[in-house]
């Protein structure tokens, strides 16, 4: 079911806030995962502000839906969303990667509230999410588990082991989101391995598959709703995205995978996002 235009605009604004937080966290002169965080921002906004059942005041709520970033290098997009939701004081975002900060370069659940797993070594998050989904089923807990992987990450063999297990155990409470931005740290994903037909591969493994525009709020919302109707097998959502989305100079530029912003680029990014904010008011 489509959401109202106002509701969709609010989610776009939340995504814009998340992108602004991401840019501010990266700051000037320090490397940060801008590209893969911005490609996920709209999906993250929909999850935290619309789809997922969760309570920032009760982060361990047993019935909460869980989100794991298998592409753990995009941690800052999750930190931003958690802060925007009120899991912790937004001032903490400024401590990213400081010695002793709970905001580590990759997610560490022992240090920061609201995180569900430790990821960073690529390819492991889908397995963790599947195990979590299996434990929820054992407990007859209705919560869902969302896990986001990058398309470059699909080169990791363990992902495909995890997909087979998820299908075998009929984990219809699992949603695998592929952030298909087409780029990885040093170039195009397709130049490294043939990955054109991701949807077909997931289908062949037994998943219910949807393909969406990962920056279209309505499509994202509806994809998660449709996934709830699928019984007996897990769902994959192949989200076509743009690496660096929302920051024009970084869009589709592989070097902003873990790039550094000059003062000029930093200012430019925040100006673009401020203008976008005005347009969404």
């Amino acid at each position: 079911m489509a959401i109202s235009l106002t509701a969709a605009r609010d989610l776009e604004r939340n995504a814009n806030h998340i992108r602004r937080d991401v840019v501010e966290m990266i700051g000037v002169g320090m490397a940060g995962h801008l590209g893969g965080s911005c490609s996920l921002a709209d999906i993250i906004s929909v999850l935290y502000f619309h789809t997922m059942h969760h309570d920032p005041k009760n982060p361990k709520l047993p019935e909460r839906d869980r989100l794991i970033l298998s592409k753990g290098h995009a941690a800052i997009v999750q930190y931003a969303a958690l802060a925007e939701c009120g899991y912790f004081d937004k001032a903490l975002l400024k401590t990213l990667k400081n010695f002793g900060s709970p905001l580590q370069g990759h997610p560490d659940l022992r240090k920061l509230t609201g995180l569900e797993a430790n990821t960073g070594s690529l390819g492991q998050g889908v397995s963790i999410a599947a195990g979590m989904a299996a434990s929820l089923k054992l407990d007859q807990n209705p919560a869902r588990v969302f896990v986001a992987a990058g398309d470059g990450e699909l080169a990791e063999g363990q992902i495909w082991e995890a997909l087979m297990a998820a299908v075998n155990f009929k984990l219809d409470n699992l949603r695998v989101i592929v952030d298909k931005n087409g780029l990885q740290a040093t170039g195009k994903t397709v130049d490294r391995f043939p990955i054109e037909n991701i949807a077909g591969r997931f289908e062949a493994f037994g998943f219910a598959v949807q393909e969406i525009d990962g920056h279209n709020i309505q499509e994202i919302v509806e994809a998660f709703e449709k996934a709830d109707q699928v019984k007996g097998r897990p769902t994959a959502i192949i989200a076509h995205t743009i690496k660096g989305k929302g920051i024009p100079f970084a869009e589709n530029v592989a070097s902003f995978h873990n790039g550094t912003l000059t003062q000029e680029l930093y200012n430019e990014a925040l100006e673009v996002l401020a203008k976008r904010e005005e347009a969404l008011l």
Binding site: T119, G120, S127, A129, A134, L136, D139, E161, A162
Partner: protein, 309 residues
């Protein structure tokens, strides 16, 4: 002296635990009939995850189960449980300090027929190097039962190293189990042998041999190669004129090197009996390999005499 098999005792204990605690779950990578996790699977099919031959997925999946409040026991041969899934153990489990128990079956050279690819001589080193990890090295079936029960209640990750073949009972049946506490199995005054896992049996034979030559040797079993209580280990060697370590794994990163750190500055001569930087190979018996790799009683006795010189 009666004998037990560590794999059988593990499997039976896991079933007992399964009855006592609904949160116990087990994962297997198609070796259940050997690791004996199959006993659990038969009793609790809904809590038994046969993952197929996919150790990496199995290990991260177990992390997810632990995050969901379950108490997972991950099963495979030691070489695969530790090595094939090393990064998953490190990243998915240990950095988050998750209570996942990894049971390395058929460890050391005990899978004698299968050769180098199946013989874990490196598992002790690679599991010990991980922060948060506890590495249990039970010496017989009795201790295996106690170790598995202890592991089920532990707060962080645990690696349990089990052997393939039947072993004589050595561990005190009614003794308390504290993995940090060295267990004195035989008293002696001249030298002390520290051993982990199955090497206690050869160490005791060595002590017996040396007794006939007038050398009195204390034999101490270390239930957990990590973490070790340094003070307790040092006090177990008080008055000894020589120390010998015994382990069925590589000299690199094992008991011997840990002891040489613990006894730094003590001025006590030390020798080590271990696998000396070699892979295993096929043979018709475990005993044949232990002999060929210098891990039997005569080799240990020689090491003691050398250290006492």
């Amino acid at each position: 002296m009666s004998k037990h098999n560590q794999r059988q005792e593990y499997g039976k204990t896991l079933v007992e635990l399964g009855h006592e605690n609904q949160n116990i779950v087990a994962l297997e990578a198609d070796l259940g009939l050997s690791t004996m996790s199959s006993l659990f699977g038969k009793e609790f099919p809904e809590r038994y995850f046969e993952m197929g031959i996919a150790e990496q997925d199995m290990t991260s999946f177990a992390a997810g189960l632990a995050l969901g409040g379950k108490i997972p026991f991950v099963n495979s041969f030691a070489v695969f449980a530790s090595g094939r899934a090393y990064d998953q153990i490190r990243q998915s489990i240990c950095t988050a300090n998750l209570p996942v128990r990894i049971v390395g079956s058929s460890s050391g050279l005990s899978d004698f027929g299968d050769g180098a690819t199946h013989q874990a001589i490196d598992d002790i080193a690679i599991m010990s190097v991980l922060p948060n990890m506890t590495v249990l090295t039970p010496c017989d079936g009795i201790e295996t039962r106690k170790a598995v029960r202890w592991a089920a209640a532990a707060e962080g990750p645990v690696y349990i190293r089990l052997s393939r073949n039947d072993l004589p009972d050595v561990f005190p049946e009614n003794g308390e189990y504290d993995p940090k506490k060295p267990v004195v199995v035989r008293e002696g005054t001249d030298a002390v042998i520290f051993s982990i896992g199955i090497m206690i049996h050869e160490a005791l034979k060595a002590a017996e041999m040396l007794q006939t030559e007038g050398i009195s040797v204390k034999v101490v079993h270390i239930p957990a190669v990590k973490p070790m209580d340094e003070a307790a280990v040092r006090s177990a060697a008080e008055g000894a004129k020589a120390i010998v370590s015994c382990e069925e794994c590589s000299i690199y990163g094992g008991l011997g090197m840990q002891l040489s750190y613990i006894f730094r500055g003590a001025g006590i001569p030390m020798e080590a009996v271990a696998v000396m930087d070699r892979f295993g190979q096929s043979a018709h018996s475990h005993a044949e390999l232990l002999e060929a790799y210098g891990l039997t009683a005569p080799h240990i006795a020689e090491a003691v005499k050398k250290a006492l010189k």
